[in-house]
Every structure is written in C-alpha cells, then in structure tokens.
C-alpha cells in the first residue's frame, strides 16, 4: 500500500495546503467577490483552517527532521570548536580537524604523506577486528552454554557461580600483566582480554535470562510432551534470547574497549598498536584517526548486532 510509505505522510499535507491556501487567505480576490456578510465568517474559519493546516504540516516533518538536525548540530559545534581552537597555531599539540582528515585519508588510501603509515589502515583494522570478533565468538561459545547450565542446573550454579561473582568485579584491564605472563607478549594477550571483556556480560545476562523464564512455559511444554533436556533448546534458549542479546551487545561493546588496551603493549599491528606507536612519535593526528576508526567500527558492529536482534526477536514487544 502506498499509504504505508512514510514519504507520502510527509508530503501530502504540504500539497494539500498549497492548493487551497491562496483561495482562502483573507484579502484575496476570491474572498472579496463573495457576499460581505458571509465573508467575515468565512475568513475567520478559513484563517483557523489555514493555521490548522500549517500546524499539521509543521507537525508532520518537524518531528522527523528535529532529531536528525540535533544529532548533527552537536558534533558540528564540537568540530567547529576544535577547528578554531587549533587552526593556525603551530604550537598546538592537538592538530586541527583538517590535518586529521588528511591523515585519515593517507592511512586509508595513501598519496599524501607517503610514509611508513600510508595505506596501512586496512591491515590494522583487519588485525583488530579479527581479535575483536574472534575473542567475542570464543566468549559467546563458552558463556552461552555455561550460562544456561548455571541458570538451570542447581549443582552447576552452586559449584561455579560464587567463583564467577568474585572474579567478575576485577577490571579486565587488571588482567593485562598476568595475561602477558601466561600468554606472552603479543596478540594472544590482546585476544584473551577481548575474550574476558565479552565473556562476563554474556554470561551474566544469559544466567539472568534463563532464570527469569516464565515457569508456566515449562509446565506448558511438559504437558505437550516436551520434557527433560529437550526443554533446553525448545524453551529455555528461545525464552532467554532477548536477555542473551542484551549480553552480546554489551559484550561486543566491551570487546572494542578492551582491544585498544590489549594491543598497546607488544603488538605490532592493530588500531591500539598504531595509536600507542603514534603517541610515542608525537603523531597525534594518527592517534585521533585511530580513535575515529574505532568509534566508527564499534558503532557499526553494534548496529549489526541490533539489526540481527531485531530480526530474531520480532516476537518480543520490547525488541521487535
């Protein structure tokens, strides 16, 4: 149906008002040609009608445009502040936005500085992303079944849950020195930190999701003939899925936070590695470029999880 197209909802009132506004506006020839007595009344009502149409017209596009404008306005203002605070100041330790933009281009496609960093962005990005998604996937593969067991099986819960509750408050970054001893200097430590950063949010939310499954669903399933361990896949997993997704989203966010810390020592490639290296060389424009890339890809991967979530959880009133 065409009526479902949002664009039509936006434009229809506009066209409507254009066609009959001139004729009803007070003082135009058409109104004057009509009998005087009626005219005052008509003008009054038509003026109201015009105002109403105008209000309807405004209310149809303004609520849509407003958040977009506001969302753009704030970073633009920040960008402007950054620009005016740094441009034409050679002593400034922070480069102006334009320099950062050029550096970002050089990192991505080269042709500007042609130094050791030109055209290396893809390598670093792929290195970081493989650690983020690799660590995340491992965390998911372990936290999901463990969370389901802890949530459903009392013995497992009593055995493992207290330990996890004690280990959980330790900041992931505090594990770095120990990780370097266990896994050695290099990407394996970074991978471990990412894994740990994603593991807890997924685990905790899976346990919560499993424990809050409506008990009636188990009764319903068992009277329909679904008993024992088959309930794990037919009832527990789908019922806990909204909560599991929340955990995955949090976990992936943490993975991106932790990757930079993990790559800061003893790793050659990765966005965290070039940020740290550029800091030592006082190449602040590279530092900021790296930050922007992490921000952008962190955002994109969050959007991806949300998009998958919306498709899988279309049934849930709070997700769909």
């Amino acid at each position: 149906m065409a009526g479902l197209d949002p664009a039509i909802h936006v434009f229809r009132p506009l066209q409507e008002s254009k066609t009959w506004m001139p004729g009803t506006r007070p003082g135009t020839t058409r109104v004057e040609s009509e009998p005087k007595t009626v005219s005052t009344l008509t003008t009054e009502t038509s003026r109201e009608a015009v105002r109403e149409t105008a209000a309807r017209e405004t209310s149809s596009w303004w609520p849509r445009l407003k958040p977009v404008l506001l969302a753009i306005a704030f970073p633009l203002a920040l960008l402007a502040m950054w620009h005016f605070a740094t441009v034409n100041r050679p002593a400034s330790l922070i480069p102006p936005p334009h320099d950062v933009w050029l550096e970002l281009k050089d990192l991505a496609i080269g042709g500007i500085n042609d130094d050791a960093y030109s055209q290396t962005l893809l390598t670093h990005l792929v290195a970081s992303m493989s650690r983020v998604y690799g660590g995340f996937a491992l965390a998911l593969a372990l936290a999901l079944p463990l969370g389901m067991l802890i949530g459903r099986v009392q013995l497992v819960r009593q055995l493992i849950d207290p330990t996890i509750q004690i280990l959980r408050p330790i900041p992931v970054t505090a594990w770095l020195p120990l990780a370097m001893i266990i896994f050695g200097l290099g990407p394996r430590s970074a991978f471990f930190l990412v894994f740990l950063g994603a593991f807890y949010p997924i685990l905790v939310n899976t346990i919560f999701g499993v424990r809050t499954v409506e008990p009636r669903l188990f009764e319903a399933a068992s009277m329909l003939g679904c008993t024992g361990s088959t309930q794990f896949f037919r009832v527990v997993l789908p019922a806990a899925l909204p909560s599991i997704f929340t955990g995955m989203r949090l976990g992936l966010g943490f993975a991106w936070v932790v990757i930079v810390v993990g790559e800061m020592t003893g790793v050659q490639t990765g966005l965290g590695a070039i940020i740290m290296e550029a800091r030592q060389l006082s190449r602040t424009e590279i530092v900021i470029s790296g930050m922007i890339v992490i921000g952008a890809f962190g955002f994109l991967s969050d959007q991806l999880v949300m998009w998958i979530g919306r498709r899988l959880l279309a049934w849930s009133p709070s997700h769909g």
């Binding site: 669903l217 009764e219 319903a220 009277m223 329909l224 679904c226 049934w315």
Partner: protein
C-alpha cells in the same frame, strides 16, 4: 453427557500439604472425585479453597502428599499430553517467540507426528477456534480472547483425553467470555473430550457443566457436595430450574466466601 460410568480420572482421599521454610499448610484433605469419561465437570468454590491445587495434581504438576490420583486406573506421576491444562493467563502459557501456527506445531513436533500431517492438523484446529487468518501473528499481537482460543487449539492438537481448565475465561470481558463458552461447548460436543473446569462463577458452572463439584473453603479443603445439572443445552439463565440451582449453590457458598475473606485477612 456421560458415556459411561467408568472414571477416567479419579482422586481418592487426596491431600496436599505445602511446606515452606518450616511452616506447613494443609491445602487439601480427603478430596475424592471421580470424573467420568466424556463428562463436563465444574469445580466451584470460594477463593483459596484449593480448586487450582486439585487441578494441578490431576495435571501431574504437583504430587499429592496423601491419597491417590489416578488416570485410567494408573497413578499420575507427572505431566502428560493425555491431560492438558488451560491456564487462566494464556499470555504466559503460550510460547511468545512462536507464531500462532508454530505454537500449535510445537506439540506435533515433540510428539513426532509425521511432518506430512502437520498442515492438516494445524489447519483443522486453527479453523475450529477461528484463528486460521492469524497464523503468522505472535501471541503478543493477539487479543485476550484470541490467546485463549490459541491455547485451546494448541492443546487439542496433541489430542488429549482430558482438558483441565483453570478459570480459563476469568480474565476476559463478559462478551468475549460468552463467545468462548459457546466455542468450548461446541468443541466438547464435537470431540467428546472430558472436561474439568475450575471456576468461581456459579452462572458459568451452570451454563457449562454436567455436574458441579462444590469445594469447601480451605485450609484442609475437600469436595463438599456434587450437583447434577440435568438440563438441556444451550441453557437459559432465566429458566426457573437454573435459577433455583443458582440460589441453592449460592446459599451454600455464601458462608465460605465470608470465611475465605477472614482467612485471607488473618494471614
């Protein structure tokens, strides 16, 4: 109407004691009821009289602490698809992640019904409850009456012998409830299932049941009296015989309602 006098479901001196943190409450004592195959029986009583407990014991969700619960002569040890339960809150009993048709399919899949037969079965029961136009909707998109009908379709699809209904229409508005009554009676007459229906609404019990079992108020509730409703369906609430029965039951329930309130306040 009852086809034979052989009980399909039987409670003999059944009792239930709940213990919780050192305190124990005797919810039922010496409850006996035999449900005949094919009959429609209503359990009625003031709130807190253990109607739901009795039904849950029959479903196998909770074991009796004394006496016996038997289905076709064999002790009930757990839930089974020969005795399906209808919950008052259909919204919490339907699988929210499954669409209307998938909710019905759930039982067929776990029962390992051949795949080729699924479509026919799903269509038959969804048509019966007038939901076949909403097959792809999720429970959250259905109204209260539609959810109850879906619960009925899902349960009937596993071909149970006894339908245990725990105030299934209690949360529905009066008009929807009337419609559900006729849907249920039609299905019952067409399929010949046995129905045990819990309610606290005397009119509902008289409209539906072959027999009405009245329970005394707890603690230590039991089946106090059984009325036989020997009137043709559809029943008219203004019929003098119906009115007479209504008042008879009401007069017996009245002191229980007062007592139930006092007990609740004392807790």
């Amino acid at each position: 109407m009852a086809e034979s006098a052989v009980p399909i479901l039987e409670l003999k001196n059944a009792g239930k004691i709940y213990s919780q943190g050192g305190r124990s409450i005797e919810a039922l004592r010496g409850a006996s009821l035999s449900v005949r195959k094919g009959e429609f029986i209503c359990l009625i009583g003031a709130s807190g009289c253990g109607k739901s407990t009795l039904l849950r014991m029959a479903a196998g969700f909770e074991p009796a602490t004394s006496g016996s619960v038997t289905f076709k002569g064999r002790a009930v040890t757990g839930a089974g698809r020969d005795r399906v339960m209808f919950f008052q809150d259909a919204g919490s009993a339907l699988f929210p992640w499954l669409s209307v048709e998938e909710n019905v399919r759930f039982g067929l899949r776990v029962r390992k019904v051949p795949k080729g037969e699924w479509e026919t079965i799903i269509q038959t029961y969804l048509r019966m409850v007038d939901l076949d136009r909403h097959r792809t909707k999720f429970p959250s998109q259905l109204s209260g009456g539609m959810r109850q009908r879906l619960q009925i379709a899902r349960a009937l699809a596993v071909e149970p012998e006894v339908l245990l209904m725990d105030e299934p229409f209690g949360a529905l508005d009066a008009l929807t409830r009337r419609r559900m009554h006729s849907v249920l009676l039609t299905i019952w007459q067409r399929t010949g299932k046995t129905v045990v229906f819990v309610t606290h609404d005397i009119a509902e019990a008289i409209l539906l049941a072959d027999r009405i079992a009245m329970m005394s108020v707890g603690p230590r509730s039991t089946i106090a009296k059984i009325f036989t409703v020997d009137l043709p369906r559809p029943r008219d609430l203004t019929h003098p015989k119906v009115a007479q029965l209504f008042h008879e039951i009401e007069a017996l329930l009245e002191p229980d309602v007062v007592r139930s309130e006092q007990l609740m306040a004392a807790q």
